[in-house]
């Protein structure tokens, strides 16, 4: 069950193991619906881990409740399928307990943005070095089709037969509101970008949120079609890369430019816009104003949806600072036995 078939590699006398994606696959039977977007996400995570070459026994995948949260069972790593909404808090405990582990959270829009909203924002605010895979299908699948906190206003579902009368959360906005240091976005079917984004998320020190636009084939099929469909994808999405021009379209003929305080999608060579007007993506700038604007671009306002790493900035991580604080205290007062500590505390008297 737990065997790892990594290749033993010996380069110039330095031996190490090179893991393969299959080393992260558990033999447990997968129970997602046929055609579910989760399969692709599982594959991408296994590929990303192989690329990162992190030991399966040093990897912990934590989840809450929902279809997405079954993911740990399918991973040949340490895994914890917990209770609804609490994955980020459990992962915080895991990471603080052992900062050497690579800790991943598999969660959904209902799990993290509704019942677990509090843990989601506070984990991000603390910047615990974990990677949150937020499967966003804008629906509750496991309970059979209720609207979720990311469903658009007016969305008709089993629990909103006349349409919802509430606005959705936009995960990026929530992440930035909680002072998030990393936000990326990927499409379930776009394996290449997804693997790259997961790898970047893992490398980032701090809480990484990757919103994965995932298709629920049963209850919300095609919700992301406008951007995932082959015919529209090139015009309706833009893959952001740090340090590169923000261009998109089938032949990269379009670009994002600044128009006053706003972003605008233009065709290069039309209306007087040249490639020089097109913005260069800076994911690493502390100011999140432009990141917010990029993350909130949407086809409904004639803009492409941004994919890839939108924000990745350095900041202190919670568990590392905690370790440092302990080290600092221990430097000043070297570790004692418990009894020694008590004997040295104030108000101790001796009875002879």
């Amino acid at each position: 069950m737990n065997t790892v078939e990594a290749k033993n590699i010996d380069i110039s006398g330095i031996k190490y193991q090179k893991y393969m994606p299959k080393d992260y696959k558990s033999p447990n039977p997968i129970r997602w619906c046929p055609g579910c977007g989760d399969y692709a996400i599982l594959t991408c995570l296994q590929k990303a881990l192989a690329e990162l070459n992190v030991d399966p026994h040093n990897t912990a995948v934590i989840s809450g409740i929902g279809c997405s949260s079954r993911l740990p069972y399918y991973m040949n790593t340490y895994g914890f399928h917990s209770i609804h909404g609490r994955a980020s808090a459990i992962a915080t405990g895991v990471k603080v307990a052992n900062p050497n582990l690579s800790v991943w959270v598999a969660t959904g829009d209902g799990d993290s943005l509704a019942i677990g909203g509090n843990h989601f924002i506070h984990t991000i605010r603390r910047n615990v070095d974990i990677n949150i895979l937020l499967f966003n299908n804008k629906i509750y699948g496991l309970t059979k089709g209720q609207y979720s906190p990311t469903s658009e206003r007016g969305f008709v579902s089993k629990s909103s037969p006349y349409g919802t009368v509430e606005d959705p959360f936009r995960p990026a906005e929530l992440t930035f509101g909680a002072r998030g240091t990393f936000f990326g976005r990927a499409l379930d079917v776009d394996m290449k970008n997804q693997v790259d984004t997961l790898v970047e998320a893992a490398k980032h020190k701090g809480t990484s949120v990757v919103e994965i636009l995932q298709n629920c084939v049963i209850f919300n099929d095609g919700i992301h079609n406008k951007i995932s469909d082959r015919n529209w994808k090139a015009d309706n999405t833009i893959l952001l890369k740090h340090g590169e021009k923000m261009v998109f379209g089938k032949d990269n003929e379009k670009g994002i430019v600044l128009d006053g305080w706003n972003l605008k999608a233009v065709t290069i060579g039309e209306d007087g816009y040249t490639i020089d007007d097109v913005l260069v993506h800076d994911a690493e700038t502390q100011d999140n104003t432009l990141h917010m604007k990029l993350a909130l671009m949407d086809t409904s306002v004639g803009m492409p949806v941004a994919l890839g790493v939108i924000r990745s900035v350095t900041a202190p991580t919670y568990e590392r600072d905690y370790e440092d604080q302990i080290a600092e205290v221990l430097k000043k007062s070297p570790k004692k036995s418990f009894r020694e500590f008590l004997l040295n505390s104030s108000n101790v008297w001796e009875v002879k």
Partner: protein, 621 residues
Amino acid sequence: MSTNRVVTDIKQVTVRFSGDSGDGMQLSGTLFSTLSAIFGNEISTFPDFPAEIRAPQGSLHGVSGFQVRIGAKDVYNSGDKTDVLVAMNPSALKVNAQFLKKGSIVIYDNDSFKKRDLDKAKFETEDPFTELNLNHVQTIGIDITSLTKASLENSGLENKDILRSKNMFALGVVCWLFNRPLEIADKLLEQKFGKKPALVEANIKALTDGYNYGDNLQLTATTYNIDVKESTKGYYMDVNGNTATAYGLIAAAERAGLQLFLGSYPITPATDILHELTKRKDFGVKALQLEDEIAGITSAIGASFAGCLAATSTSGPGLSLKSEAIGLAVMTELPLVIIDVQRSGPSTGMPTKSEQTDLRQALYGRNGESPLVVIAATSPTDCFDSAFEASKIALEHMTPVILLTDGYIANGSSAWRIPEMEDYPEINPPYVDKYYNGNAEDWKPFLRNEATDVRYWGIPGTPEFMHRVGGLEKDRFTGVISSNPENHQFMIDIRQNKIERIADFIPEQEVMGDKDAETLIVGWGGTYGHLLEATLHLQDSGKKVAFTQFRHISPLPKNTHDLLKGYKKVIVAEQNSGQFAAYLSSKFQDLSNIHKFNRIEGQPFKVSELVKEFTKIMEEA
């Protein structure tokens, strides 16, 4: 400084310091109890304060009190009634009048017993003592405020800080009354205010002036000398239940060779456990203040999964919020210590007042069949042993353990002999790589040690033992999700058995008292001191009565049934409506001898009332 005076020897005395919640009464009380303990007395304290941080000055609901009972020996609780009351204002007098013994001494501040102050306390006349029918008490009015001002006028302190030292002047008078050496108090003040020399100096001066004032004016005809006990040799410290609980966890982590992790959220009266453990970075303790009660426990569950001794601390309302997560710890069979410092409920109830009303919640407050271990600490110092034992059971039996303490023992303190850690048992968690005998590839997470029904602990980072746990039912062999009917029944039963078999690892229940007694007094948790003293009173008056206090609630000690069967009457006394009595009755349905005594007033039991009520039950046909 001492002059000719009458000194009377007494065995015990109960003193209550009382004033506004900003008057520093908790500090006066703590100093008096600590210095008495250092002096060689047994002590038991009872801080009784309102939930409001600074209620309107002089108001009845803002009265904060600190009661301390000191004596040569047999100080089992903080006492029903007071021999000495320090009342810093009329409200303090009014609120505490009910606790005054006949002939007791009331020391009060003349300066704050003016018309305006009496109005705030809703007195209708200008003679509060007569109005309260306190003609039997000895009153000592002292101009505490003005004398403190005079004492510190050249101290260089601001008026505000000078007024704050009133409590030290009052404490000085009390020290004089009981012949307490000021040197100990001076040392304690140096430790308390060490970083602010001006404050140390001012406090010591006010204290000394208060002492000398009592001595010079011979405020009472006699002063008192309290015998000093002969204690077991060793080092002692004064500790309250919350600190002892924190210490018990640290000691257990040290014994087990594990990192201690606490996930918590502030809640009265449990927060001091979080405070203490956040300070203990010198032991590498990771104590986190999380965003809510649920994150408190779930982060602890994560830390447990990752290989820590993990704990979460809370009170009743917090325990409610943690219910679902406790079920997860039951299902995943992970070690976890959940500390519930019980307070008055339901809902927010009376946050600073104590009772024992969370027993049912601890035993049953979860969905599904979710058995776990419940332990209840019996005194402030027993919080140490109980926290240690809770940790040991959690780690060795791979189960959540709920440790019940209560506001009374959590805030109350007594002298504690610093233990030799060799006297405490080893803690050996069932690490999979150390204790599992088979091959790693054959291991599955819910395979068990047949001798104990305990599963093995595979900690992330351990090569070859990668596995998945979760809230869904698992196949007992393969560890994969299962809704097989026969398997579910098996897992339900074995989770229950695992807990019941812990009875083999805990001591049998002991009884104190007459072998031929017809009546057994039964209590559990923090009421130990009061019930013990009530039993001793009954025995002194010739009653055949025995007493037992339960610390192990789930599972119960193995001899519980035989023990209870052996008495004509069993009186279960609790600060709830009969939760433990009902638990015993449901466990042992053949018992028809169970009687109940219940008080839920947010105050500790009163020994006098216990004696009266137990006598009544014993005399019934």
